[in-house]
C-alpha cells in the first residue's frame, strides 16, 4: 500500500470541506472523509500484518521515497512499523469520533472542520514519516490548528490556554529542532533519514546533548513533568472535539517521538538518562493522580488524569525493557481511545446540563442512561479494570518494569502502582456524584444521546473493548517493532 494516501486523503477532505456550500455539506464531507480514513487505516492494519508475516524482522514496511529538497538531503521518506500502524489506527478512530461529536457546532462550521481535518493530516504525516525533517514539519503543522480550535471555539479562559499551549508546544519543538540538527550533522552525508541515522553510531558526547533535547522536546507534547502545565488548561478550554484530538492524538505524537526517534536513534544516552526519565515520569504519575483528586471540574479531572496516564507511557519507555516498551505503546493507544471517549462524554453531559462541576450534577443515570453507562465504562477503563484496555496496558508496563531486579526500579514501579488506588478514588467519586443520587429538578427533562453521539461512543468503545478483551492482536502488532528498538539497546548494554 502506498502510504501517501494517508496524507492525500485528509488533504482532499480539507479541500472538499473548503469548497462545500453549507454547513450540512461541510459535515458530510468531513464525515465521509474520516470514514474513508478509518477504512484506510484498518486496511493498512490487515495489509501490514500480512506483509509482516511474510517478511519478518524488517525495520519498516511500505517504504516510499520522493525527492524533496535534495540539496539538503531531505526526502519525502515514508514507511511504517507496528508502532506507527497502531498509532494510525488510533488516529483514525479518534478522528471519526471527533467529527461525529462536533455535529452540533454552529459557529463557523466550515473553519472548525477544516482545522480538525488539518490536525488529522498532521498526525498521519507524523506517524508515517521516516525523514526527521518531514516528521518535524508535520509535528509543527498541528500546532496552529490546535491554537485556533481552542481560541475560537473554546470556553473559559480560552485565549490564555490557547496561547500557553501554542507557546509551550513551540518551545518543545524548538528543542526538538536543535536535537535534530545535532543528529543531522553527525551523519557522514548530512541526513535527516531515520533509517540512516539508526545505522550509524552517533558519538556518545553528541548523544548526551541531543537525547535530552529530543526527549524533553517531544516530552512537552506528552506532558513530561515539569512541562505538563499546558495540559489541564488546554484540555479544559478546548471544545469537545479539540480536547479529544489533543489528548487522544496530539499527546501521542510526543510519546511516539520519544520512543521512535530519541530512544531508537540514541540508545547509549537512553540508558544513561533512564534514571532521570523514570524519576520524572514517576513524579508525573503520582503528582497527576493526587492533583486530580482535588479537581471539581470534570474536564480538569480528565486532563490531570491524562498527565498521570501519560506518565505511564514515559515510564514504560524509560524502563527500557521489551515488555515495558510494548506496554508504553499499548498505553498510548489505550489512553488515546479512553481519554477521547471520556472527553466526548463530558462534552455530551455539558451540552445538556451546561455545567461541568461534579457537585452540581447528580442522578444523571435516570435521564441519560446511555451517556452515563459510557461514562462508567470509560471511568473503569481509566482506573484499570480487567477486560478494558487500561488494565492491559498498565499491567504490561508493570510487568516490564518488574523485570529490573534492583531497588530503584522496584520502588518506581511500586509508586506507579500506588497511583492506581488514587485513580480509583477520584474516578469513582466523580462518576458516583455525576450519575447516582437524587436528580436535580432542572435536569429532569434532559434527553439521552443522539445518533451521532451514540455512533462516536460506540466506535471508541469498540476500540477499548477490542484491546481489553483480546489484547494479543495489538501485542503482536507492536512487539516486532519494540524488539528492533530493544535490540539496539541490548547491544549497548
Amino acid at each position: 500500500m502506498n502510504l501517501i494516501y494517508l496524507i492525500l486523503l485528509p488533504l482532499l477532505t480539507a479541500v472538499l470541506v473548503l469548497l462545500a456550500r453549507n454547513a450540512m455539506q461541510v459535515k458530510l464531507m468531513a464525515l465521509i472523509g474520516s470514514a474513508a480514513q478509518i477504512v484506510l487505516a484498518v486496511y493498512l492494519y490487515f495489509v501490514y500484518t500480512a506483509e509482516a508475516a511474510l517478511s519478518k524482522g524488517n525495520q519498516v514496511y511500505f517504504e516510499k521515497q520522493y525527492e524533496w529538497f535534495p540539496s539538503w538531503h531531505i526526502s519525502f521518506h515514508l514507511g511504517v512499523d507496528g508502532i506507527s500502524v497502531a498509532m494510525i489506527l488510533l488516529t483514525a478512530f479518534v478522528v471519526i469520533a471527533g467529527v461525529l461529536v462536533s455535529w452540533n457546532v454552529e459557529k463557523m462550521t466550515k473553519e472548525f472542520y477544516f482545522l480538525l481535518v488539518l490536525l488529522s493530516l498532521g498526525a498521519y504525516g507524523f506517524f508515517i514519516s521516516l525523514d526527521l525533517f518531514i516528521l518535524f514539519f508535520f509535528l509543527e503543522i498541528a500546532v496552529i490548528p490546535k491554537y485556533l480550535l481552542i481560541g475560537i471555539w473554546g470556553s473559559g479562559k480560552k485565549e490564555y490556554s490557547a496561547n500557553k499551549l501554542a507557546l509551550m508546544l513551540m518551545g518543545g519543538s524548538a528543542l526538538v529542532l536543535v536535537g535534530l540538527l545535532g543528529l543531522y550533522f553527525t551523519t557522514p552525508e548530512h541526513s535527516f533519514d531515520l533509517i540512516k541515522l539508526s545505522q550509524v553510531h552517533i558519538p556518545i558526547d553528541v548523544q548526551r546533548i541531543c537525547f535530552p533535547l529530543l526527549f524533553v522536546g517531544f516530552g512537552v507534547f506528552t506532558a513530561i513533568f515539569p512541562f505538563h502545565t499546558w495540559v489541564p488548561d488546554g484540555h479544559s478550554s478546548a471544545p469537545t472535539a479539540g480536547s479529544m484530538f489533543l489528548a487522544g492524538i496530539s499527546m501521542k505524537l510526543g510519546g511516539y517521538g520519544c520512543l521512535r526517534v530519541a530512544t531508537y536513534i540514541m540508545p547509549d544516552a537512553a540508558l544513561e538518562y533512564s534514571t532521570i526519565i523514570i524519576i520524572l515520569s514517576s513524579i508525573a504519575i503520582l503528582y497527576g493522580a493526587f492533583t486530580t483528586m482535588m479537581q471539581k471540574d470534570l474536564k480538569y479531572i480528565n486532563a490531570y488524569s491524562s498527565v498521570s496516564h501519560c506518565g505511564f507511557v514515559l515510564l514504560g519507555i524509560g524502563m527500557l525493557t521489551k515488555t515495558a516498551m510494548t506496554g508504553a505503546v499499548m498505553q498510548m493507544v489505550s489512553h488515546g481511545l479512553m481519554t477521547a471517549l471520556f472527553f466526548a462524554v463530558i462534552g455530551m453531559i455539558y451540552e445538556r446540563t451546561h455545567t461541568r462541576q461534579v457537585k452540581e450534577m447528580g442522578g444523571l443515570l435516570k435521564v441519560m442512561p446511555f451517556i452515563t453507562t459510557v461514562l462508567f465504562i470509560v471511568g473503569l477503563c481509566s482506573l484499570g479494570l480487567p477486560g478494558l484496555s487500561g488494565f492491559v496496558a498498565e499491567m504490561t508496563i508493570f510487568m516490564g518494569s518488574w523485570e529490573h531486579p534492583d531497588m530503584f526500579h522496584r520502588i518506581a514501579t511500586i509508586i506507579a502502582c500506588m497511583s492506581i488506588v488514587v485513580t480509583a478514588v477520584y474516578i469513582l467519586r466523580a462518576i458516583g456524584q455525576t450519575a447516582m443520587g437524587p436528580i436535580k429538578d432542572e435536569f429532569k427533562n434532559l434527553g439521552d444521546a443522539k445518533w451521532n453521539e451514540k455512533a462516536a461512543a460506540v466506535i471508541l468503545l469498540i476500540g477499548i473493548l477490542a484491546i481489553g478483551i483480546a489484547p494479543t492482536w495489538l501485542n503482536e502488532l507492536i512487539k516486532p517493532a519494540t524488539e528492533i528498538i530493544m535490540h539496539k539497546i541490548s547491544i549497548v548494554k
Binding site: P70, S71, F133, E159, G171, A174, L175, F185
Partner: protein, 465 residues
C-alpha cells in the same frame, strides 16, 4: 561592448521605465488609473525579463559584475517592487504625485541593482547613495503629515551618519590595502588591527542600513511616519538588497577574516533577535509592530550569513524571497485597512474576521510565515537558515535562536488573536478591495503557501552558483 545590453539588462529596463514616467509627467491630462495599470504592466514585463538572458560578466573593468545569482537577486527585488505597485494601488491612484513616487522608488531600485552588482568599493558607495536618498524622499511623501517629515529627517540623518562611517571605512581600506577592488582586497588582508578597524567600520555601515541592533533606533520611527508603500519598500526591498551585498562583502571581500566577523555576527544576531522580539511584544501600532518584527527577522538572516558556506547564501536568498511575500502581504493588508478606515492599531483589528475573512486569512498566513509555522514558506526559510547556521556546531547559539522563534510566535499570535478571537463592537467595516490589490494579496498568499512546498525553487537557487 557586445555584452553591454545583456549584462546591464535589468538596469536599462528600469531606466527606460523611469524615463517613460518622466515624460508622462511633463505631458498633461494623464489619469492616475490608466498610468498605474501601465506601470504595473511595465513592472511585470520587467520582472519576467529578469529571468532570461542572464550571463556572467564584467563591465568597465571591475566596476560592474553580474552573474545568474545576482540576476536572481535582482528579480526578487523586482518582484517586491511589482507587488508594491499592486498592493498599494488604492493609495497610489488617489495620490496626486503618484508618478513621482514611482520615479523615486525605481531610482532607488536602480541604485540597489548597481549596488549588488558592484565590484568595487567606490561603485558600491555611489550606488548605495542612489539607493538611499530617494527613499528618504519617499518617506516624506505625505507632505502634510508632521510625523512623516520627522521620519524622513531621522532617516536622512542616520543615513548620512552611516554613510560617513562607511566612507571612512573605505578610505581606511584603501590605506590598509592599497586597493578598493573587491577582487584584489582579499589577497591583501592579513588581519592586522587596522584591517579589523576597517571591517568594523564597514560592518557598522551595513548594520545601520539593515537595522541591526544597536543601530536600529531609526527604524520604528521611520516606518511609522512613512506612507505604507514606502515602509513596505524600505522593509522588504531595501533590506533585501543590503543583505545581498552584505553577503558578498563578507564572503568575498572579507573571507580571510571570517573568524573575526563570525563572532561579530553571532553577537549582533543574538542582540538583534532579543531586542527586536522584546520590543515587538509591546507595540500597539501595526507599523511599529512590523518594524520590530522585521528587526527580529534580520537577526535570523544573520544566522544564515554566519554559516560562511554556499548553503548559507542560498538559504539567505531563499529566505528573502519568502520574506518578500510574507512581509508584503502583511503590509498590504495593513495598508488596505488603514487607507479605508484610518485604523492602524492592533486593537482595531479585533473582530476583523467577522467582516473581512479574506484579509484575515491573508494576514494570518503572512504572520504564520513570519513566525515560521508550517506549511507556510516561512517555516522552510527559517529552518534552512538555522540549519545552515548550525553547521558550525555552535549549539548554545542555535538553541537560543530556536527558542527565539517561540518568543516571536507569541507576538504574531497577539495579532492573530485580535483578528480571529477577540470580540469588538465596532470592527473594521467590510472593505471593497481594489482589484489590483486583491491580485497582489492573492499572489502573496499563494507565494507564502507554495514557495516552501515546491522544493524546486530552492534547488533553482542552489544551482545558480
Amino acid at each position: 561592448m557586445d555584452n553591454f545590453f545583456t549584462l546591464l539588462k535589468s538596469e536599462l529596463l528600469i531606466t527606460i521605465i523611469i524615463f517613460y514616467l518622466l515624460f508622462i509627467k511633463i505631458g498633461k491630462g494623464v489619469r492616475n488609473d490608466g498610468l498605474l495599470t501601465m506601470v504595473q504592466i511595465l513592472l511585470l514585463i520587467n520582472l519576467i525579463a529578469g529571468f532570461f538572458f542572464n550571463q556572467e560578466g564584467h563591465l568597465n573593468g571591475d566596476m560592474f559584475y553580474t552573474n545568474p545569482l545576482i540576476a536572481f537577486q535582482k528579480s526578487i527585488l523586482n518582484l517586491g517592487v511589482y507587488l508594491i505597485s499592486l498592493l498599494f494601488a488604492g493609495w497610489f491612484r488617489r495620490h496626486e504625485h503618484m508618478p513621482e513616487f514611482f520615479i523615486l522608488m525605481l531610482s532607488a531600485l536602480l541604485g540597489m541593482f548597481l549596488m549588488i552588482s558592484s565590484g568595487n568599493l567606490l561603485m558600491f558607495y555611489l550606488a548605495l547613495e542612489l539607493a538611499t536618498i530617494p527613499v528618504a524622499a519617499m518617506v516624506n511623501f505625505d507632505l502634510e503629515k508632521k510625523i512623516s517629515s520627522e521620519g524622513a529627517m531621522k532617516m536622512i540623518l542616520s543615513s548620512a551618519f552611516s554613510s560617513g562611517i562607511l566612507l571612512f571605512g573605505i578610505s581606511l581600506m584603501y590605506g590598509a590595502t592599497g586597493t578598493i577592488s573587491f577582487a584584489e582586497i582579499p589577497a591583501m588582508l592579513d588581519g592586522s588591527p587596522l584591517q579589523i578597524l576597517v571591517l568594523v567600520f564597514l560592518f557598522t555601515g551595513f548594520a545601520f542600513k539593515l537595522s541591526i541592533v544597536p543601530f536600529h533606533l531609526w527604524t520604528a520611527d521611520v516606518y511609522e511616519g512613512a506612507p505604507m508603500a514606502a515602509t513596505a519598500f524600505l522593509s522588504v526591498v531595501s533590506k533585501g538588497s543590503i543583505a545581498f551585498i552584505f553577503i558578498t562583502a563578507l564572503y568575498k571581500v572579507f573571507q580571510p577574516m571570517h573568524g573575526v566577523w563570525y563572532n561579530m555576527l553571532i553577537l549582533l544576531s543574538v542582540a538583534t533577535m532579543v531586542i527586536g522580539n522584546l520590543f515587538a511584544l509591546r507595540q500597539q501600532n501595526i507599523k511599529r509592530f512590523l518594524a520590530f518584527s522585521s528587526i527580529a527577522q534580520v537577526g535570523f538572516i544573520l544566522v544564515g550569513i554566519s554559516s560562511n558556506s554556499s548553503q548559507g547564501i542560498s538559504a539567505v536568498v531563499y529566505f528573502i524571497l519568502i520574506y518578500v511575500f510574507s512581509n508584503l502581504a502583511a503590509f498590504g493588508v495593513a495598508a488596505v485597512i488603514s487607507s479605508q478606515s484610518g485604523k492602524e492599531k492592533i486593537d482595531d483589528y479585533k473582530g476583523l474576521y467577522k467582516t473581512n475573512p479574506f484579509l484575515s486569512w491573508i494576514l494570518a498566513l503572512a504572520l504564520f510565515s513570519l513566525a515560521g509555522i508550517p506549511p507556510t514558506a516561512g517555516f522552510f526559510g527559517k529552518l534552512f537558515l538555522i540549519t545552515a547556521g548550525a553547521a558550525k556546531a555552535n549549539y548554545g547559539f542555535i538553541t537560543f535562536v530556536a527558542l527565539n522563534m517561540m518568543v516571536s510566535l507569541y507576538y504574531y499570535l497577539i495579532v492573530v488573536r485580535a483578528v480571529f478571537m477577540d470580540k469588538n463592537d465596532l470592527p473594521v467595516e467590510k472593505i471593497n478591495i481594489h482589484p489590483a490589490t486583491k491580485l497582489g494579496l492573492i499572489i502573496c498568499g499563494s507565494g507564502v503557501l507554495l514557495v516552501g512546498l515546491m522544493s524546486w525553487i530552492y534547488d533553482y537557487i542552489q544551482n545558480l552558483f
